[in-house]
């Protein structure tokens, strides 16, 4: 025989088995009161018991699946008024004893739980329990509402059954419920934005309180919600009794997928009911949830947010870097090109120097030799001005200045060769403020002098004109010399250099190209430089 002690918190009685002092010793100290002992036949292998249930105070439950007979003994502490106590015994729904007083004559001193305290003890009888439910109720007439209930369960615990599963939806006038009645083990449920709550209705039993319900995410195998809070009220079964139901908030479902609803007896786990044994009493339903909106946990949201931010950041960064790099590469390339063009321009300019510098010096030498001091002075300053212009790294020069320089130059050359010349700028040109690359015309003018009219003396004529043609600036140099073959390369002419220079200028002024045109025949040469859209 096994002896088990049931704990009645704040209870001052103890019930004990008649026989069997051997067995399991529960050396527990209770705040007050005593113990109810049961003794079961020793053939019983497994006894499961629990006395803590949510929302179910003063209740103990023992599951005795293999026990044939059970005897009860009640023990009282010595300072207790035993005559105030009444007890009732029910077998299944049938009452065997109702509100019976303790038979004082039968009370004996005993070490009820095997501990040192001596209790006053008596037997409540021996009962067959196989296939039965025995319920013992004990109370004091001084506190008649505090009824202590002990349930001894000799039947097999029924597997829970979901009678209905439903959802609550918000509608215009409040809420509406829709249910799936007597669902199979696979339940499909579509949750929309309007749905907010899930209800699970269980079949009614006398021991609903031992069942707890958990919902597991099948994908992650994690319990997402648990409940033991069976409620009664809204759902009535065929026997006109309330069915227990549970409510779950929709928000527990973060995403669509399969979930498992598990309903099983609680607490026995603590007393080592083996998993396969437990499984016998466990009901499992698969719930396929479809959410029309994906819900994420804060953590998921955070991770998602971070990943998105990082990804966007990375893409943005990459794009910016790419664009920047491309732009800076392009810019570097452009500025490098320009730099090269500028350097080449400078070198071309400096190559132009000797041609007219030494010729000019020769002209001044000529004046000195002729003792024309005043003229020598003036031409020397002109020469200085021209030289300065060549040495200056100024890229642009005003038309006025260019005209002055050409005038200086032509005056000097006129001194040597005695030709006539004419310099003109059309009046619609703002010569003071229009700028052109410096030394652009000089080589062509020099060419006209040296190879055009040098031999013609006073009959030679050079015309230089600046004209406006719509938004183009036309610079032209004409002479009435003997002309030259424009297809030939004259190294000494500075012509090749000028052509080179113009092509370099065109790499800098891409949008306003310089067009060089040379017409030459035996009657003379006409050079035209068109600065497209320059004005």
């Amino acid at each position: 025989m096994k002896k088990i002690i049931f704990i009645f918190l704040n209870l001052v009685i103890a019930i004990s088995t008649v026989t069997a002092q051997k067995g399991i010793d529960f050396n527990k100290i209770y705040p007050s009161g005593g113990k109810l002992l049961m003794c079961v036949d020793s053939s019983a292998k497994n006894v499961y018991y629990s006395n803590v249930f949510p929302n179910q105070p003063n209740t103990s439950f023992s599951y005795l699946p293999e026990v044939n007979n059970i005897s009860f003994q009640i023990n009282f502490r010595k300072n207790i008024n035993i005559e105030h106590y009444r007890y009732t015994i029910l077998v299944d729904d049938k009452s065997i004893v109702v509100n019976k007083s303790i038979n004082k004559a039968q009370l004996k001193d005993t070490h009820a739980g095997g501990d040192d305290e001596v209790f006053r003890s008596t037997t409540l009888g021996i009962f067959p329990i196989k296939g039965k439910i025995i319920t013992i109720l004990v109370y004091s007439i001084q506190t008649p509402l505090d009824i202590y209930k002990s349930v001894f369960y000799g039947k097999s615990i029924p597997k829970a059954k979901i009678k209905a599963i439903g959802k609550r939806s918000t509608i215009e006038k409040g809420v509406d419920y829709s249910y799936i009645i007597d669902p199979k083990e696979k339940i499909k449920l579509n949750l929309t934005k309007k749905d907010d709550e899930l209800t699970i209705v269980k079949d009614r039993t006398d021991i609903d309180y031992i069942y707890y319900t958990s919902i597991k995410d099948k994908q992650t195998n994690k319990i997402i919600s648990e409940s033991t809070s069976w409620q009664y009220g809204s759902h009535i079964d065929e026997t006109h009794q309330f069915s227990p139901y549970l409510k779950f908030d929709k928000s527990i479902f973060k995403k669509s997928g399969d979930y498992e609803v598990i309903i099983q007896p609680s607490a026995f786990g603590r007393y080592k009911m083996l998993p396969n044994e437990m499984e016998k009493y466990t009901a499992r339903y698969t719930l396929s949830i479809t959410l029309d909106e994906v819900r994420f946990t804060n953590r998921q949201m955070l991770i998602f947010g971070i990943i998105t931010a990082l990804l966007l950041g990375a893409i943005f960064g990459a794009a910016v870097t790419y664009i920047k790099r491309k732009a800076s590469k392009k810019l570097a390339q452009q500025s490098k090109q320009k730099e090269i063009a500028q350097l080449q321009l400078n070198s071309v300019r400096s190559q132009l120097n000797p041609h007219f510098l030494f010729n000019a010096l020769a002209g001044i030498q000529n004046l000195m030799n002729k003792n024309e001091i005043d003229n020598a002075n003036r031409y020397l300053s002109k020469f200085a001005r021209l030289t300065r212009n060549v040495l200056d790294s100024k890229e642009l020069i005003s038309l006025t200045k260019e005209k002055t320089l050409l005038d200086d130059y032509l005056q000097m050359e006129q001194l040597r060769f005695g030709f006539q010349y004419n310099l003109s700028a059309s009046s619609d040109l703002d010569t003071e403020n229009i700028e052109i690359p410096s030394m652009l015309l000089q080589p062509f003018v020099e060419n006209a002098v040296k190879h055009g009219i040098a031999e013609k003396g006073k009959d030679g004529k050079i015309t230089v004109s600046f004209e406006k043609q719509t938004s183009n600036l036309i610079l032209s140099i004409q002479d009435n010399g003997k002309g030259f073959d424009t297809t030939q390369t004259y190294n000494g002419l500075g012509l090749a250099l000028s052509k080179n220079r113009i092509s370099l200028l065109n790499t800098i002024y891409k949008n306003t190209p310089f067009v060089l045109d040379i017409q030459s025949n035996t009657n003379g040469t006409a050079v035209t430089i068109t600065l497209t859209e320059w004005l």
Binding site: S381, E432, E435, T512, L535
Partner: protein
Amino acid sequence: MRAVLVDDELANLENLQVLLAKNCPEVKVVAIASNIDDAFEKVNLHRPDLLFLDIQMGKTTGFDLLNKLSKKSFEVIFVTAYDNYGIQAVKFAALDYLLKPVDPDELITAVSKAEERIKGKINGEQLNFLLNQIKQTEPSIPKIALPQQHEIRYVSVDDIVRCMADNTYTFFYLSSGEKILISKPLKEYSDLLKPQGFVRAHQSHLVNPKFVKSWLKEDGGMLLMNNGDKIPVSKPNREMVKLVLGK
């Protein structure tokens, strides 16, 4: 006009004397000096109306002489061989200068301008302004002298919004909203102010990028200034303007 000539090369002194005698008989050379100590004494002694002053003289400069002289009751025409650093400051001060070898025509013009200034007595601050500018060792925002008919305005380059050419004249638009007309071509100020970051947007327009609000695409490109003015950008300058504004 009584003049003192200062140059460290005797040949230059002689040249200038001959040119003055020939072209500017109204100028009487009272003394010549080939170093600044000598020049200091002679200027103090003769109190000339006009000083022809070489800028670079060995290790010293004409500015050193000016710094030594407490009273500067004379006009100065600087004479220099090449556009070196000093000439830039002279230009900012709107003072007159000649380049060697001296051109007789330019000499005549310079002398007559000096004569006008002496008569009009508008001299005064320009030399001190020049010396102050030169003294500044740290780079700072320079001021520029803008000679008007009766006065010379000294304007911080930062206060110039833009310049507009009017033939050989230039209009200065200042951040105060003022508009000043100066009788020098835009090109001259363009050369002076481009190293200060100014950009030539158009043949008639020089712009301080600091006052540019945005680039308008209308009419092939316009600069919208902070004060609402719209400045056209001519095609050849477009790339360069973009480059300068892009900075």
